[in-house]
Symmetry: C2
Subunit: 84 residues, 2 copies
């Protein structure tokens, strides 16, 4: 799956709910999922970690959609000029 495809998928699945929720609530939800990922990394199974990685990715993509920004473009910085 490409980053663009991920964003399109999230827009199809959740774009309407995202717009109704608004950006600050999406940030809050992303933080909640990052907490769940941290917990799964500390004491979860690989399946649980995979689940939480997916949720974090999904919320990052939903947030990018709401901001009108491209994850692919964001990632390109690591191709063109990766931080040391």
């Amino acid at each position: 799956m490409t980053l663009d495809e991920l964003q399109v998928l999230m827009g199809e699945l959740y774009g309407e709910a995202d717009a109704a929720r608004g950006v600050p609530s999406t940030v809050a939800w992303l933080c909640e999922e990052v907490g769940e990922l941290a917990q799964a990394v500390r004491k979860g199974t690989p399946d649980q970690q995979l689940h939480e990685l997916g949720d974090v990715l999904a919320w990052v993509a939903s947030l990018a959609n709401q901001l009108g920004l491209s994850l692919s473009e964001a990632a390109d910085r690591y191709v063109d000029a990766p931080p040391a």
Copy 2:
């Protein structure tokens, strides 16, 4: 860019440093970047938001690499059985 390509790129750029740092420190760093993203969303420019989205993606990919997990597989859950 595909999710697989993102993980390969992060492994090439940072795999050695990631392994030396260890998983808990990677989780801590991811959380730091999520905080920077939250701040950029609240009061940053679109360029700053794009920058921080890229950093969060990069750390999620580095973490997945360290856990031996596939972001592509993680995202596939949203294709096969998306949460409501």
